[in-house]
C-alpha cells in the first residue's frame, strides 16, 4: 500500500500550487489534468482541508473552497504548499528520456527546443549525472530522419533501402511517406510503395538509408496493406513441440501452452505474424523446436533446411 500512499501524496502536493495558479478551475477540469476521475479529485480535496499544522485550529488548516454549484475550486490558504515541490529525480528523468526519444524521431517541429528544454531541466533538477547513466536510441539515423521528415512535409518521393526482418531481405524501393505511428515504442512509417504499387508499412529502424527520389509515375489506387507487416485477416497459428532451451518463445511471442509432448517437450501454440516470420523463427531455434502444425509450415521448414544443407555440401 505504501506505493499508493506516496503516489497520492505526491499528487496532493502538486495539486495545491496548481490550483492556486488556476484559480476557479472546475473539479472536472482539474481531475482531467491530473489523470484521475472527478470523484477521486473531490476526495483529495476533502483530505487536504482536514490537514494542517499542529494545533489544527482556524488558520492552521489548508483552506480550499469547492462547493459552489459550478464545482469551481478556490484555494484560500495553502499554508506552506503554495509553491510546487522540486522535481524528483524520477520525474526529471522520465521527461529527459522522452525528450531524447523525441529528438531522434521524425515529425517533431522544433528539435532545438527539445535539446534546450532538456538542458534546462537537467540543470534545474541536478539530474545531469543520473541522466548520463541512461541512454536512449530509437534506432533511426539522423540522415534517414531528415529525409523522411522532408518527404512528410512536402510529399515527395523517397528512395529507401529497407532491411525486412520477416522476409530477411534487403530491397531498394521508391516510396511516398504518408504518416508515422508507433506501437510499443517502435516507430513505423506508412507509405505508398511504387515498387509494390500499394501501401506498405515499414519499421523506421529498419530503413537502412534514405534519399530524395523520383516518382516513376503517379501512385495507383492504394491496394491492401503488406501481408508481411500488417496482421493477416485471419490469424493463423502454429503448434510447436518446444524443448526447454526454446521455452523463452512462450514469453517473448505470447505462446499458449497446450500440453506436454511424448519426449518431455512442451506443446506451444503461437500466433504467426506471417508464414515467413514463422519459418525464420523455427529455423533460428536451430533444432530445439519442431513444427507439428500446420502441415504447410512443416513442409516449408523441411524444404528450407534441406536447401540450406545443400549449400554446405
Amino acid at each position: 500500500m505504501s506505493g499508493t500512499a506516496a503516489e497520492r501524496l505526491s499528487r496532493l502536493l502538486a495539486l495545491v500550487p496548481w490550483l492556486r495558479a488556476h484559480d476557479g478551475v472546475t473539479v472536472a477540469d482539474a481531475a482531467a489534468h491530473f489523470g484521475v476521475i472527478p470523484d477521486q479529485l473531490e476526495q483529495d480535496l476533502w483530505l487536504l482541508i482536514v490537514c494542517g499544522e499542529p494545533g489544527y485550529g482556524p488558520g492552521q488548516l489548508v483552506d480550499i473552497q469547492f462547493w459552489d454549484e459550478e464545482g469551481r475550486i478556490h484555494v484560500l490558504d495553502a499554508l506552506t504548499l503554495e509553491r510546487p515541490m522540486r522535481l524528483s529525480q524520477q520525474e526529471a528523468l522520465t521527461l529527459l528520456i522522452a525528450l531524447r526519444m523525441l529528438a531522434q524521431v521524425p515529425g517533431v517541429e522544433d528539435r532545438e527546443a527539445l535539446v534546450t528544454a532538456a538542458v534546462k531541466l537537467e540543470q534545474a533538477a541536478s539530474a545531469t549525472e543520473a541522466a548520463r547513466a541512461i541512454t536512449v536510441n530509437v534506432g533511426v539515423s539522423p540522415e534517414v530522419r531528415g529525409v523522411i521528415e522532408m518527404a512528410l512535409a512536402s510529399g515527395g518521393a523517397t528512395a529507401i533501402r529497407y532491411a525486412s526482418a520477416s522476409k530477411d531481405e534487403v530491397t531498394d524501393r521508391t516510396i511516398e511517406p504518408r504518416r508515422l505511428f508507433t506501437t510499443d515504442g517502435t516507430v513505423y512509417l506508412e507509405a505508398y510503395c511504387y515498387s509494390a504499387g500499394a501501401l506498405r508499412t515499414f519499421r523506421l529502424d529498419r530503413v537502412v538509408s534514405a534519399a530524395p527520389g523520383q516518382a516513376p509515375g503517379p501512385p495507383e489506387s492504394p491496394g491492401p496493406g503488406d501481408p508481411t507487416t500488417d496482421p493477416p485477416a485471419v490469424p493463423a497459428t502454429a503448434l510447436l513441440a518446444v524443448s526447454p532451451e526454446a521455452r523463452w518463445i512462450i514469453d517473448v511471442h505470447h505462446g499458449a501452452v497446450e500440453g506436454e509432448g511424448a519426449d518431455g517437450s512442451t506443446l506451444v501454440r503461437l500466433r504467426m505474424l506471417s508464414p515467413d516470420w514463422a519459418l525464420r523463427l523455427v529455423l533460428s531455434l536451430a533444432g530445439t523446436a519442431t513444427v507439428l502444425e500446420p502441415p504447410e509450415l512443416v513442409e516449408t521448414v523441411a524444404g528450407a533446411a534441406r536447401s540450406a544443407l545443400a549449400a554446405y555440401r
Partner: protein, 326 residues
C-alpha cells in the same frame, strides 16, 4: 494493527508540520501532535511508523533534514522551504511545448503519472501560470509497454545501490535471482536494458527489463562502481562475450537482412552490398542460430566449428520435420 488515520493524511500532516518549523520538531512532539501516531500501541511501534514515513518522504525527493545539536544528538527534523521548492525555470514557449509533448510520450505506460505530475509542477512554477498542454497535442512516440522495473532501476543507478530481481534467462528459460550493481540503462528500438555488474557471474552483464519477473528490490548495499570511463551508450547490448566467435558468412545479394544489419551496426561499411560478411558474435550457439535462420541466404564459411554446428543443426531441423535427407 491497522492505522486508524489514513496514511496519506498522516504523511501530509507530517510534511506540513516539518515545513512550518524554523528550527526542528522533536520525535516526541511529532508523536503527540500529528494525528495517526497516537494510534501506535508502543514506543517501538511508533518508531517503526515514523522511520517508515520519513524514508517514504525522502524517497519521494522531499528534503527531510535531521537536525543535530553540538554533541551530535538528534534534536528533531525539519523540511527547509528553500530546498523543498521548485524554483521557476525560464522556459521559452517552444520549450514548454516540447516538455508537454515529452510528458505525453509516456501516456499509456504504467508510470505515466510520474512525468504527468512533473508537468503539473512545472506549470505551477512558471510565472505565467499557463497551461502547457494544448488539447490536440500528440507525440510521434509512445511508450506503451514501458516496464515497471524502470523506476526502481533509475533510482538504484542514481543512488549507486545494489539491486536484486528474478530474471528469466534467455538461454535456458530458468528463473533465477540476480544480484546486480547497476551502471546504466539503455533503450534500443523501444526495448529497455540494464547494464551492470552481475555479482554471481562476477562480470559485466546486460539484462532485458522485460525478462525481469516481479519487483526489483533496491538494496542498502553500495554498488561496485563501473570501470573507469564506462559509458552506457557504448556498452554492448549483449552480455560480455563468454566465448566470442568471429564468423564469416557467404551471403546472397539482397538477402540475409538481419545479418547485414548486424554487420552494419558493427561498423562494416559495405554491409548491404558485400557478398561475404564477417561479424563478431557472442557464442557459437548465436552463430548457429543466425546461420540456420538465414537458411540458404547466408552460409557460414568460418570458423570450422561454426560450420560444423550449423550443418548439424540444419540436419536436425530437416529430419525433425520429416525429411529423410533426400
Amino acid at each position: 494493527m491497522t492505522d486508524r488515520v489514513d496514511r496519506t493524511e498522516r504523511l501530509l500532516n507530517l510534511v506540513l508540520c516539518l515545513m512550518a518549523t524554523a528550527t526542528a520538531v522533536s520525535r516526541a512532539t511529532i508523536r503527540q501532535a500529528i494525528p495517526g501516531y497516537g494510534d501506535a500501541p508502543s514506543d517501538a511501534a511508533f518508531e517503526r511508523m515514523f522511520e517508515r514515513d520519513k524514508d517514504e518522504l525522502r524517497s519521494m525527493g522531499i528534503p527531510v533534514e535531521t537536525v543535530l545539536d553540538v554533541s551530535g544528538e538528534v534534536v528533531g527534523y525539519r523540511i527547509p522551504g528553500d530546498s523543498y521548492v521548485l524554483h521557476p525555470i525560464d522556459f521559452t514557449v517552444e520549450e514548454r511545448a516540447a516538455i508537454a509533448l515529452a510528458a505525453q510520450v509516456w501516456s499509456g505506460a504504467s508510470i505515466a503519472p510520474v512525468p504527468g505530475t512533473a508537468l503539473r509542477k512545472l506549470e505551477s512554477a512558471s510565472a505565467s501560470g499557463h497551461d502547457w498542454t494544448p488539447a490536440d497535442l500528440r507525440g510521434p512516440v509512445e511508450l506503451t509497454a514501458a516496464d515497471a522495473a524502470l523506476l526502481p532501476l533509475m533510482q538504484a543507478v542514481r543512488d549507486e545501490k545494489v539491486v536484486t530481481f528474478d530474471y528469466r534467462a534467455p538461454a535456458d528459460d530458468t528463473v533465477r535471482k540476480r544480484t546486480v550493481s547497476p551502471w546504466g540503462l539503455r533503450s534500443s528500438s523501444g526495448r529497455w536494458f540494464l547494464v551492470g555488474h552481475d555479482h554471481d557471474r562476477e562480470a559485466q552483464r546486460t539484462f532485458r527489463l522485460s525478462r525481469m519477473h516481479g519487483p526489483v528490490q533496491v538494496m542498502a548495499a553500495a554498488r561496485i562502481p563501473p570501470p573507469e570511463g564506462f559509458e552506457v551508450s557504448r556498452a554492448g547490448l549483449d552480455a560480455g562475450p563468454d566465448e566470442g566467435v568471429r564468423a564469416r558468412f557467404r551471403v546472397a545479394p539482397g538477402r540475409a537482412a538481419r545479418l547485414r544489419r548486424m554487420a552494419a551496426a558493427q561498423g562494416v561499411v559495405d554491409a548491404f552490398e558485400a557478398d561475404t560478411i564477417t561479424v563478431e558474435l557472442r557464442s557459437l550457439a548465436d552463430a548457429t542460430a543466425i546461420a540456420c535462420a538465414a537458411g540458404v541466404d547466408a552460409v557460414v564459411v568460418e570458423p570450422p566449428e561454426a560450420v560444423a554446428a550449423a550443418r548439424a543443426a540444419l540436419a536436425v531441423i530437416a529430419s525433425a520435420h520429416g525429411d529423410g535427407g533426400s
